[in-house]
Symmetry: C2
Subunit: 213 residues, 2 copies
DNA sequence: TTTATTAAGTGAAACTGTTCACATTAACTA
DNA sequence: TAGTTAATGTGAACAGTTTCACTTAATAAA
Protein backbone atom coordinates (compact mmCIF):
# COMPACT_ATOMS: atom_id res chain seq x y z
CA UNK A 1 0.00 0.00 0.00
CA UNK A 2 1.28 3.41 -0.90
CA UNK A 3 2.50 5.35 2.13
CA UNK A 4 0.25 8.28 2.84
CA UNK A 5 -2.51 7.07 0.60
CA UNK A 6 -4.81 6.07 3.46
CA UNK A 7 -4.57 9.51 4.97
CA UNK A 8 -5.34 11.08 1.62
CA UNK A 9 -8.31 8.76 1.12
CA UNK A 10 -9.85 9.74 4.42
CA UNK A 11 -9.38 13.36 3.39
CA UNK A 12 -11.06 12.78 0.04
CA UNK A 13 -13.84 11.01 1.88
CA UNK A 14 -14.55 13.94 4.17
CA UNK A 15 -14.37 16.43 1.31
CA UNK A 16 -16.71 14.34 -0.82
CA UNK A 17 -19.32 14.33 1.92
CA UNK A 18 -19.08 18.09 2.19
CA UNK A 19 -19.39 18.52 -1.56
CA UNK A 20 -22.34 16.16 -1.65
CA UNK A 21 -24.10 18.08 1.11
CA UNK A 22 -23.58 21.17 -1.03
CA UNK A 23 -25.54 19.47 -3.78
CA UNK A 24 -22.68 18.63 -6.13
CA UNK A 25 -22.95 15.43 -8.14
CA UNK A 26 -19.57 15.15 -9.79
CA UNK A 27 -16.09 16.23 -8.91
CA UNK A 28 -12.82 16.67 -10.79
CA UNK A 29 -9.47 15.38 -9.63
CA UNK A 30 -8.32 18.95 -9.72
CA UNK A 31 -10.85 20.26 -7.21
CA UNK A 32 -10.49 17.26 -4.95
CA UNK A 33 -6.74 17.74 -5.05
CA UNK A 34 -7.00 21.42 -4.17
CA UNK A 35 -9.26 20.67 -1.23
CA UNK A 36 -7.04 17.87 0.02
CA UNK A 37 -3.89 19.88 -0.49
CA UNK A 38 -2.36 17.53 -3.05
CA UNK A 39 -1.73 17.58 -6.76
CA UNK A 40 -4.47 16.39 -9.12
CA UNK A 41 -2.27 13.64 -10.50
CA UNK A 42 -1.93 12.22 -7.01
CA UNK A 43 -5.71 11.98 -6.80
CA UNK A 44 -5.92 10.24 -10.16
CA UNK A 45 -3.06 7.91 -9.32
CA UNK A 46 -4.69 6.98 -6.01
CA UNK A 47 -7.99 6.23 -7.70
CA UNK A 48 -6.25 4.39 -10.49
CA UNK A 49 -4.53 2.10 -7.97
CA UNK A 50 -7.83 1.57 -6.17
CA UNK A 51 -9.50 0.65 -9.44
CA UNK A 52 -11.89 3.58 -9.13
CA UNK A 53 -12.67 4.92 -12.58
CA UNK A 54 -14.08 8.26 -13.56
CA UNK A 55 -15.30 9.59 -16.85
CA UNK A 56 -12.98 11.17 -19.33
CA UNK A 57 -13.80 14.83 -19.36
CA UNK A 58 -16.66 14.24 -16.89
CA UNK A 59 -14.79 13.77 -13.63
CA UNK A 60 -15.94 11.36 -10.94
CA UNK A 61 -19.49 10.73 -9.75
CA UNK A 62 -19.56 11.66 -6.09
CA UNK A 63 -22.06 8.99 -5.08
CA UNK A 64 -20.07 6.24 -6.76
CA UNK A 65 -16.89 7.58 -5.27
CA UNK A 66 -18.32 7.69 -1.76
CA UNK A 67 -19.67 4.18 -2.15
CA UNK A 68 -16.26 2.91 -3.27
CA UNK A 69 -14.46 4.68 -0.44
CA UNK A 70 -17.08 3.43 2.05
CA UNK A 71 -16.09 -0.06 1.10
CA UNK A 72 -12.36 0.62 1.08
CA UNK A 73 -12.49 2.33 4.47
CA UNK A 74 -14.72 -0.35 5.93
CA UNK A 75 -17.52 2.15 6.58
CA UNK A 76 -20.07 -0.36 5.30
CA UNK A 77 -19.64 -2.26 8.56
CA UNK A 78 -20.18 -0.86 12.07
CA UNK A 79 -17.02 0.77 13.43
CA UNK A 80 -17.13 0.17 17.15
CA UNK A 81 -14.38 0.35 19.72
CA UNK A 82 -13.88 0.03 23.48
CA UNK A 83 -11.69 2.09 25.77
CA UNK A 84 -9.55 0.18 28.24
CA UNK A 85 -8.46 2.42 31.10
CA UNK A 86 -10.88 5.29 31.66
CA UNK A 87 -8.53 7.68 33.44
CA UNK A 88 -7.46 11.09 32.26
CA UNK A 89 -7.02 10.54 28.53
CA UNK A 90 -9.30 7.51 28.40
CA UNK A 91 -11.98 9.59 30.11
CA UNK A 92 -11.46 12.52 27.73
CA UNK A 93 -11.91 10.20 24.78
CA UNK A 94 -15.08 8.71 26.27
CA UNK A 95 -16.62 12.15 26.56
CA UNK A 96 -15.53 13.25 23.10
CA UNK A 97 -18.44 13.74 20.70
CA UNK A 98 -16.37 14.08 17.56
CA UNK A 99 -16.08 10.40 16.67
CA UNK A 100 -19.72 10.03 15.68
CA UNK A 101 -19.34 12.24 12.63
CA UNK A 102 -16.72 9.81 11.31
CA UNK A 103 -19.04 6.87 11.90
CA UNK A 104 -17.01 5.62 14.84
CA UNK A 105 -18.74 4.62 18.05
CA UNK A 106 -17.21 3.98 21.46
CA UNK A 107 -19.49 1.32 22.92
CA UNK A 108 -17.94 0.65 26.32
CA UNK A 109 -15.22 1.51 28.77
CA UNK A 110 -13.33 -1.00 30.92
CA UNK A 111 -11.52 -0.09 34.12
CA UNK A 112 -10.48 -1.59 37.42
CA UNK A 113 -12.30 1.31 39.01
CA UNK A 114 -15.77 1.67 37.51
CA UNK A 115 -16.53 4.87 39.39
CA UNK A 116 -14.08 6.98 37.41
CA UNK A 117 -16.81 8.57 35.33
CA UNK A 118 -20.04 10.04 36.61
CA UNK A 119 -23.12 8.85 34.75
CA UNK A 120 -24.42 12.24 33.81
CA UNK A 121 -21.60 13.65 31.76
CA UNK A 122 -20.48 10.31 30.40
CA UNK A 123 -23.15 8.49 28.43
CA UNK A 124 -21.03 5.39 27.72
CA UNK A 125 -21.14 2.61 30.32
CA UNK A 126 -17.96 1.64 32.18
CA UNK A 127 -17.61 -2.02 33.12
CA UNK A 128 -15.22 -3.71 35.54
CA UNK A 129 -12.17 -5.26 33.94
CA UNK A 130 -13.37 -8.79 34.70
CA UNK A 131 -16.09 -8.42 32.08
CA UNK A 132 -13.58 -7.66 29.32
CA UNK A 133 -13.74 -11.01 27.52
CA UNK A 134 -17.50 -11.18 27.86
CA UNK A 135 -18.04 -7.72 26.36
CA UNK A 136 -15.55 -8.19 23.53
CA UNK A 137 -17.29 -11.41 22.56
CA UNK A 138 -20.87 -10.28 23.03
CA UNK A 139 -20.41 -7.03 21.12
CA UNK A 140 -17.91 -8.55 18.67
CA UNK A 141 -15.38 -5.79 19.34
CA UNK A 142 -12.53 -5.53 16.86
CA UNK A 143 -10.79 -2.39 18.09
CA UNK A 144 -9.59 -1.23 21.51
CA UNK A 145 -8.14 2.06 22.69
CA UNK A 146 -5.49 1.40 25.33
CA UNK A 147 -5.18 4.15 27.95
CA UNK A 148 -4.01 2.27 31.02
CA UNK A 149 -0.88 2.92 33.12
CA UNK A 150 2.12 1.84 31.11
CA UNK A 151 3.05 -1.08 33.34
CA UNK A 152 -0.34 -2.66 32.61
CA UNK A 153 -0.11 -2.16 28.87
CA UNK A 154 1.51 -5.33 27.58
CA UNK A 155 -0.53 -7.64 29.83
CA UNK A 156 -3.77 -6.07 28.71
CA UNK A 157 -2.62 -6.10 25.10
CA UNK A 158 -2.08 -9.87 25.30
CA UNK A 159 -5.41 -10.34 27.03
CA UNK A 160 -7.28 -8.27 24.45
CA UNK A 161 -5.64 -10.13 21.58
CA UNK A 162 -6.61 -13.39 23.23
CA UNK A 163 -10.20 -12.16 23.53
CA UNK A 164 -10.32 -11.43 19.81
CA UNK A 165 -9.45 -7.73 19.47
CA UNK A 166 -7.38 -7.13 16.34
CA UNK A 167 -6.90 -3.36 16.18
CA UNK A 168 -5.23 -1.22 18.84
CA UNK A 169 -4.85 2.47 19.40
CA UNK A 170 -2.17 2.59 22.05
CA UNK A 171 -1.62 5.76 24.08
CA UNK A 172 0.88 4.26 26.49
CA UNK A 173 4.55 4.96 25.80
CA UNK A 174 5.15 1.21 25.57
CA UNK A 175 5.89 0.18 22.02
CA UNK A 176 3.52 -2.76 21.70
CA UNK A 177 4.62 -5.44 19.30
CA UNK A 178 2.67 -8.40 18.02
CA UNK A 179 4.29 -11.74 18.74
CA UNK A 180 4.92 -14.24 15.94
CA UNK A 181 1.67 -15.90 16.84
CA UNK A 182 -0.25 -12.64 16.76
CA UNK A 183 1.39 -11.52 13.54
CA UNK A 184 -0.45 -14.32 11.75
CA UNK A 185 -3.73 -12.93 13.04
CA UNK A 186 -2.87 -9.58 11.42
CA UNK A 187 -3.01 -7.49 14.54
CA UNK A 188 -2.94 -3.77 13.73
CA UNK A 189 -1.30 -1.45 16.25
CA UNK A 190 -1.17 2.32 16.04
CA UNK A 191 0.84 4.09 18.68
CA UNK A 192 0.06 7.65 19.70
CA UNK A 193 3.10 8.80 21.60
CA UNK A 194 2.53 12.35 22.66
CA UNK A 195 5.87 12.83 24.38
CA UNK A 196 7.58 11.55 21.26
CA UNK A 197 5.68 14.02 19.10
CA UNK A 198 6.87 16.85 21.32
CA UNK A 199 10.43 15.56 21.17
CA UNK A 200 10.25 15.53 17.41
CA UNK A 201 8.98 19.09 17.30
CA UNK A 202 11.84 20.28 19.47
CA UNK A 203 14.24 18.33 17.32
CA UNK A 204 12.94 19.85 14.11
CA UNK A 205 13.08 23.36 15.55
CA UNK A 206 16.61 22.65 16.64
CA UNK A 207 17.64 21.50 13.17
CA UNK A 208 16.10 24.48 11.44
CA UNK A 209 17.91 26.77 13.91
CA UNK A 210 21.22 25.07 13.24
CA UNK A 211 20.70 25.31 9.51
CA UNK A 212 20.01 29.01 9.68
CA UNK A 213 23.20 30.04 11.40
CA UNK B 1 16.45 14.14 6.49
CA UNK B 2 15.92 10.42 6.34
CA UNK B 3 12.27 9.53 6.97
CA UNK B 4 11.91 7.57 10.18
CA UNK B 5 15.34 8.45 11.38
CA UNK B 6 14.15 10.93 14.01
CA UNK B 7 11.90 8.32 15.53
CA UNK B 8 14.74 5.84 15.61
CA UNK B 9 17.06 8.39 17.19
CA UNK B 10 14.64 9.08 20.03
CA UNK B 11 14.43 5.32 20.56
CA UNK B 12 18.21 4.97 20.64
CA UNK B 13 18.28 7.86 23.06
CA UNK B 14 15.90 6.22 25.52
CA UNK B 15 17.66 2.87 25.24
CA UNK B 16 21.03 4.47 25.80
CA UNK B 17 19.84 6.08 29.00
CA UNK B 18 18.56 2.74 30.23
CA UNK B 19 21.83 1.02 29.35
CA UNK B 20 23.79 3.77 31.06
CA UNK B 21 21.71 3.45 34.21
CA UNK B 22 22.56 -0.25 34.12
CA UNK B 23 26.20 0.69 34.29
CA UNK B 24 27.18 -0.07 30.69
CA UNK B 25 29.83 2.11 29.12
CA UNK B 26 29.82 1.02 25.50
CA UNK B 27 27.25 -0.41 23.15
CA UNK B 28 27.31 -2.23 19.81
CA UNK B 29 25.16 -1.33 16.84
CA UNK B 30 23.84 -4.85 17.08
CA UNK B 31 22.47 -4.54 20.61
CA UNK B 32 21.12 -1.07 20.01
CA UNK B 33 19.42 -2.36 16.89
CA UNK B 34 17.86 -5.29 18.72
CA UNK B 35 16.52 -3.03 21.44
CA UNK B 36 15.15 -0.52 18.93
CA UNK B 37 13.71 -3.22 16.72
CA UNK B 38 15.84 -2.39 13.69
CA UNK B 39 18.76 -3.96 11.91
CA UNK B 40 22.31 -3.16 13.06
CA UNK B 41 23.21 -1.69 9.68
CA UNK B 42 20.41 0.83 10.10
CA UNK B 43 21.95 1.96 13.37
CA UNK B 44 25.36 2.31 11.79
CA UNK B 45 23.96 4.11 8.77
CA UNK B 46 22.05 6.53 11.01
CA UNK B 47 25.16 7.31 13.03
CA UNK B 48 27.26 7.54 9.91
CA UNK B 49 24.91 10.15 8.46
CA UNK B 50 24.93 12.03 11.76
CA UNK B 51 28.73 11.99 11.75
CA UNK B 52 28.78 10.01 14.97
CA UNK B 53 31.75 7.70 14.94
CA UNK B 54 32.40 4.63 17.02
CA UNK B 55 35.41 2.43 17.40
CA UNK B 56 36.09 -0.43 15.08
CA UNK B 57 35.54 -3.55 17.13
CA UNK B 58 34.89 -1.48 20.26
CA UNK B 59 31.36 -0.23 19.56
CA UNK B 60 30.16 3.21 20.60
CA UNK B 61 30.86 4.99 23.87
CA UNK B 62 27.51 5.54 25.52
CA UNK B 63 28.42 8.86 27.10
CA UNK B 64 29.67 10.29 23.82
CA UNK B 65 26.65 8.94 22.03
CA UNK B 66 24.23 10.47 24.52
CA UNK B 67 26.06 13.79 24.32
CA UNK B 68 25.81 13.76 20.53
CA UNK B 69 22.13 12.84 20.57
CA UNK B 70 21.47 15.47 23.24
CA UNK B 71 22.72 18.04 20.82
CA UNK B 72 20.89 16.61 17.82
CA UNK B 73 17.60 16.36 19.72
CA UNK B 74 18.00 19.82 21.20
CA UNK B 75 18.11 18.45 24.75
CA UNK B 76 20.94 20.79 25.59
CA UNK B 77 18.42 23.62 25.66
CA UNK B 78 15.32 23.80 27.89
CA UNK B 79 12.33 22.12 26.23
CA UNK B 80 9.32 24.05 27.44
CA UNK B 81 5.80 24.19 26.06
CA UNK B 82 2.43 25.75 26.86
CA UNK B 83 -1.02 24.22 26.55
CA UNK B 84 -3.67 26.35 24.90
CA UNK B 85 -7.15 25.12 25.80
CA UNK B 86 -7.20 23.31 29.14
CA UNK B 87 -10.34 21.23 28.63
CA UNK B 88 -10.60 17.47 28.53
CA UNK B 89 -7.48 16.53 26.63
CA UNK B 90 -5.64 19.73 27.41
CA UNK B 91 -6.36 19.11 31.09
CA UNK B 92 -5.24 15.48 30.86
CA UNK B 93 -1.96 16.60 29.34
CA UNK B 94 -1.44 19.21 32.05
CA UNK B 95 -1.79 16.59 34.74
CA UNK B 96 0.44 14.08 32.99
CA UNK B 97 3.71 13.42 34.81
CA UNK B 98 5.36 11.48 32.00
CA UNK B 99 6.86 14.41 30.09
CA UNK B 100 9.46 15.23 32.74
CA UNK B 101 11.39 12.02 32.11
CA UNK B 102 11.88 13.12 28.52
CA UNK B 103 13.12 16.50 29.64
CA UNK B 104 9.96 18.26 28.50
CA UNK B 105 8.23 20.75 30.77
CA UNK B 106 4.77 22.22 30.45
CA UNK B 107 5.18 25.67 31.93
CA UNK B 108 1.70 27.16 31.59
CA UNK B 109 -1.86 26.66 30.45
CA UNK B 110 -3.97 29.26 28.67
CA UNK B 111 -7.77 29.20 28.60
CA UNK B 112 -10.73 31.53 28.34
CA UNK B 113 -11.92 29.92 31.55
CA UNK B 114 -9.14 29.85 34.11
CA UNK B 115 -11.15 27.85 36.62
CA UNK B 116 -11.10 24.66 34.60
CA UNK B 117 -8.42 23.10 36.78
CA UNK B 118 -8.38 22.99 40.54
CA UNK B 119 -5.10 24.08 42.05
CA UNK B 120 -4.48 20.99 44.10
CA UNK B 121 -4.33 18.32 41.45
CA UNK B 122 -2.90 20.56 38.77
CA UNK B 123 0.44 22.08 39.70
CA UNK B 124 0.78 24.12 36.49
CA UNK B 125 -0.74 27.61 36.50
CA UNK B 126 -3.56 28.40 34.07
CA UNK B 127 -3.66 31.97 32.76
CA UNK B 128 -6.45 33.84 30.98
CA UNK B 129 -6.10 33.93 27.20
CA UNK B 130 -5.38 37.67 27.22
CA UNK B 131 -1.98 37.00 28.76
CA UNK B 132 -0.93 34.74 25.90
CA UNK B 133 1.46 37.12 24.16
CA UNK B 134 2.92 38.29 27.45
CA UNK B 135 3.66 34.74 28.64
CA UNK B 136 5.06 33.56 25.32
CA UNK B 137 7.43 36.50 25.28
CA UNK B 138 8.39 36.47 28.94
CA UNK B 139 9.07 32.74 29.06
CA UNK B 140 10.41 32.64 25.49
CA UNK B 141 8.03 29.81 24.54
CA UNK B 142 8.81 28.01 21.30
CA UNK B 143 6.20 25.24 21.39
CA UNK B 144 2.44 25.17 22.01
CA UNK B 145 0.01 22.30 22.38
CA UNK B 146 -3.30 23.25 20.82
CA UNK B 147 -6.33 21.66 22.49
CA UNK B 148 -9.08 24.21 21.90
CA UNK B 149 -12.46 23.67 20.19
CA UNK B 150 -11.86 23.22 16.49
CA UNK B 151 -13.52 26.46 15.44
CA UNK B 152 -10.97 28.38 17.53
CA UNK B 153 -7.99 26.51 16.16
CA UNK B 154 -6.88 28.52 13.16
CA UNK B 155 -7.34 31.91 14.86
CA UNK B 156 -5.26 30.83 17.81
CA UNK B 157 -2.69 29.27 15.54
CA UNK B 158 -2.22 32.63 13.77
CA UNK B 159 -2.09 34.45 17.07
CA UNK B 160 0.49 32.07 18.51
CA UNK B 161 2.65 32.32 15.38
CA UNK B 162 2.43 36.07 15.64
CA UNK B 163 3.53 35.90 19.27
CA UNK B 164 6.60 33.89 18.29
CA UNK B 165 5.65 30.25 18.78
CA UNK B 166 7.28 28.09 16.10
CA UNK B 167 6.30 24.52 17.02
CA UNK B 168 2.75 23.20 17.31
CA UNK B 169 1.24 19.96 18.54
CA UNK B 170 -2.29 20.22 17.23
CA UNK B 171 -5.02 17.97 18.64
CA UNK B 172 -7.88 19.63 16.80
CA UNK B 173 -9.13 17.90 13.67
CA UNK B 174 -8.33 21.04 11.68
CA UNK B 175 -5.36 20.51 9.41
CA UNK B 176 -3.33 23.59 10.26
CA UNK B 177 -1.14 24.89 7.50
CA UNK B 178 1.53 27.53 7.61
CA UNK B 179 0.95 30.42 5.25
CA UNK B 180 3.64 31.52 2.81
CA UNK B 181 4.72 34.10 5.31
CA UNK B 182 4.92 31.59 8.12
CA UNK B 183 6.70 29.03 5.97
CA UNK B 184 9.70 31.30 5.90
CA UNK B 185 9.76 31.29 9.68
CA UNK B 186 10.02 27.47 9.59
CA UNK B 187 6.90 26.75 11.57
CA UNK B 188 6.70 23.09 12.59
CA UNK B 189 3.25 21.53 12.93
CA UNK B 190 2.49 18.03 14.13
CA UNK B 191 -1.12 16.95 13.98
CA UNK B 192 -2.47 14.28 16.31
CA UNK B 193 -5.76 13.24 14.81
CA UNK B 194 -7.22 10.55 16.99
CA UNK B 195 -10.35 9.97 14.91
CA UNK B 196 -8.15 9.58 11.84
CA UNK B 197 -6.00 7.01 13.62
CA UNK B 198 -9.09 4.99 14.42
CA UNK B 199 -10.29 5.27 10.84
CA UNK B 200 -6.96 3.97 9.64
CA UNK B 201 -7.11 1.02 12.00
CA UNK B 202 -10.57 0.06 10.75
CA UNK B 203 -9.34 0.48 7.19
CA UNK B 204 -6.33 -1.74 7.73
CA UNK B 205 -8.43 -4.42 9.41
CA UNK B 206 -10.80 -4.22 6.50
CA UNK B 207 -8.03 -4.67 3.97
CA UNK B 208 -6.52 -7.62 5.76
CA UNK B 209 -10.00 -9.21 5.91
CA UNK B 210 -10.52 -8.68 2.20
CA UNK B 211 -7.12 -10.13 1.41
CA UNK B 212 -7.79 -13.24 3.40
CA UNK B 213 -10.95 -14.30 1.67
C1' DT C 1 55.00 -10.84 14.59
C1' DT C 2 51.31 -13.05 11.59
C1' DT C 3 46.65 -14.51 11.31
C1' DA C 4 41.89 -14.49 12.56
C1' DT C 5 38.04 -12.27 14.24
C1' DT C 6 34.90 -8.74 15.22
C1' DA C 7 32.43 -4.87 14.47
C1' DA C 8 32.35 -0.09 12.32
C1' DG C 9 31.89 2.40 7.98
C1' DT C 10 30.18 3.17 3.36
C1' DG C 11 29.29 3.15 -1.86
C1' DA C 12 26.01 1.07 -4.57
C1' DA C 13 21.93 -1.71 -5.52
C1' DA C 14 17.16 -2.37 -4.60
C1' DC C 15 12.98 -0.79 -3.29
C1' DT C 16 9.07 2.46 -2.54
C1' DG C 17 6.34 6.21 -3.41
C1' DT C 18 5.76 10.48 -6.12
C1' DT C 19 5.83 13.20 -10.13
C1' DC C 20 6.02 13.73 -15.04
C1' DA C 21 4.80 13.31 -19.76
C1' DC C 22 1.91 11.76 -22.76
C1' DA C 23 -1.78 8.63 -24.60
C1' DT C 24 -6.76 8.20 -24.43
C1' DT C 25 -11.42 9.28 -24.62
C1' DA C 26 -15.63 11.94 -24.22
C1' DA C 27 -17.91 16.05 -25.21
C1' DC C 28 -18.33 20.28 -27.37
C1' DT C 29 -17.81 23.46 -31.62
C1' DA C 30 -18.04 24.94 -36.17
C1' DT D 1 -18.25 15.13 -39.59
C1' DA D 2 -13.71 16.87 -38.48
C1' DG D 3 -11.28 19.39 -35.22
C1' DT D 4 -10.55 21.20 -30.61
C1' DT D 5 -10.61 20.98 -25.82
C1' DA D 6 -10.90 19.16 -21.19
C1' DA D 7 -10.49 15.80 -18.47
C1' DT D 8 -8.98 10.86 -17.03
C1' DG D 9 -5.48 7.03 -17.05
C1' DT D 10 -0.94 5.17 -16.80
C1' DG D 11 3.96 3.66 -17.98
C1' DA D 12 8.23 5.54 -16.98
C1' DA D 13 11.47 8.68 -14.91
C1' DC D 14 12.74 10.40 -10.61
C1' DA D 15 13.81 10.98 -5.66
C1' DG D 16 14.31 9.43 -1.15
C1' DT D 17 15.23 5.33 2.02
C1' DT D 18 16.57 1.10 3.16
C1' DT D 19 19.21 -2.86 2.55
C1' DC D 20 23.22 -5.24 0.75
C1' DA D 21 27.88 -6.37 0.05
C1' DC D 22 32.08 -5.22 0.82
C1' DT D 23 36.20 -2.52 2.91
C1' DT D 24 38.61 -1.00 6.89
C1' DA D 25 40.47 -0.85 11.44
C1' DA D 26 41.19 -2.57 15.96
C1' DT D 27 41.91 -6.27 18.95
C1' DA D 28 42.85 -10.97 20.24
C1' DA D 29 45.01 -15.26 19.56
C1' DA D 30 48.65 -18.25 17.88
N1 LIG E 1 -2.52 11.81 30.38
C1 LIG E 1 -1.70 12.17 29.40
O1 LIG E 1 -1.66 13.33 29.02
C2 LIG E 1 -0.81 11.17 28.73
C3 LIG E 1 0.10 11.59 27.77
C4 LIG E 1 0.92 10.65 27.14
C5 LIG E 1 0.79 9.33 27.49
N2 LIG E 1 -0.09 8.95 28.42
C6 LIG E 1 -0.20 7.53 28.75
O2 LIG E 1 -1.55 7.14 28.73
C7 LIG E 1 -1.80 6.18 29.75
C8 LIG E 1 -2.91 6.66 30.63
O3 LIG E 1 -2.57 7.89 31.17
P1 LIG E 1 -3.57 8.70 32.10
O4 LIG E 1 -2.90 9.99 32.37
O5 LIG E 1 -4.92 8.68 31.53
O6 LIG E 1 -3.52 7.80 33.43
P2 LIG E 1 -4.65 7.65 34.54
O7 LIG E 1 -3.96 7.09 35.73
O8 LIG E 1 -5.40 8.92 34.66
O9 LIG E 1 -5.64 6.57 33.94
C9 LIG E 1 -5.36 5.21 33.92
C10 LIG E 1 -6.68 4.47 34.14
O10 LIG E 1 -6.45 3.07 33.96
C11 LIG E 1 -7.13 2.38 35.01
N3 LIG E 1 -6.44 1.11 35.19
C12 LIG E 1 -5.35 0.84 35.93
N4 LIG E 1 -5.01 -0.46 35.79
C13 LIG E 1 -5.91 -1.01 34.97
C14 LIG E 1 -6.09 -2.31 34.43
N5 LIG E 1 -5.25 -3.29 34.72
N6 LIG E 1 -7.14 -2.52 33.61
C15 LIG E 1 -7.98 -1.52 33.27
N7 LIG E 1 -7.85 -0.26 33.73
C16 LIG E 1 -6.82 -0.02 34.57
C17 LIG E 1 -7.08 3.29 36.20
O11 LIG E 1 -8.16 2.99 37.08
C18 LIG E 1 -7.25 4.65 35.53
O12 LIG E 1 -8.62 4.99 35.45
C19 LIG E 1 -0.50 6.01 30.47
O13 LIG E 1 0.17 4.88 29.96
C20 LIG E 1 0.27 7.25 30.14
O14 LIG E 1 1.66 7.02 30.13
C21 LIG E 1 -0.90 9.85 29.05
N1 LIG F 1 -11.48 14.98 23.86
C1 LIG F 1 -11.09 14.12 22.94
O1 LIG F 1 -11.06 12.94 23.18
C2 LIG F 1 -10.69 14.57 21.58
C3 LIG F 1 -10.38 13.63 20.60
C4 LIG F 1 -9.99 14.07 19.35
C5 LIG F 1 -9.91 15.42 19.09
N2 LIG F 1 -10.22 16.32 20.03
C6 LIG F 1 -10.13 17.73 19.74
O2 LIG F 1 -9.39 18.41 20.75
C7 LIG F 1 -9.92 19.70 20.97
C8 LIG F 1 -10.28 19.86 22.42
O3 LIG F 1 -11.18 18.85 22.78
P1 LIG F 1 -11.72 18.70 24.24
O4 LIG F 1 -12.54 17.48 24.26
O5 LIG F 1 -10.59 18.82 25.22
O6 LIG F 1 -12.66 19.98 24.36
P2 LIG F 1 -13.09 20.79 25.68
O7 LIG F 1 -14.28 21.56 25.30
O8 LIG F 1 -13.14 19.86 26.83
O9 LIG F 1 -11.86 21.76 25.91
C9 LIG F 1 -11.66 22.93 25.19
C10 LIG F 1 -11.07 23.98 26.12
O10 LIG F 1 -10.70 25.10 25.35
C11 LIG F 1 -11.12 26.28 26.05
N3 LIG F 1 -11.29 27.32 25.04
C12 LIG F 1 -12.37 27.59 24.26
N4 LIG F 1 -12.11 28.62 23.45
C13 LIG F 1 -10.85 29.02 23.72
C14 LIG F 1 -10.02 30.04 23.22
N5 LIG F 1 -10.43 30.85 22.23
N6 LIG F 1 -8.79 30.17 23.74
C15 LIG F 1 -8.36 29.36 24.71
N7 LIG F 1 -9.10 28.38 25.24
C16 LIG F 1 -10.33 28.22 24.75
C17 LIG F 1 -12.38 25.89 26.76
O11 LIG F 1 -12.58 26.74 27.87
C18 LIG F 1 -12.06 24.46 27.17
O12 LIG F 1 -11.42 24.42 28.42
C19 LIG F 1 -11.10 19.83 20.05
O13 LIG F 1 -10.70 20.50 18.88
C20 LIG F 1 -11.45 18.40 19.71
O14 LIG F 1 -12.03 18.28 18.43
C21 LIG F 1 -10.61 15.92 21.28
Amino acid sequence: MHGDMIIRITKYYRILHKLKSLGLERVFANNLGDAAGVNATVVRKDFSLLKIIGQKRGGYEIDNLIASLDKILGKDKPQEAIIVGCGRIGGALMRYRGFASDGIKIVAGLDINTHVCDEQECPIPIYPLEQLEEIVKKKNIQVAILTVPEQEASDLFRRLCEAGVRGFLNFTPIGLKASKDEEDKHIIIHNVNIALELEQIFYELNISDNHML
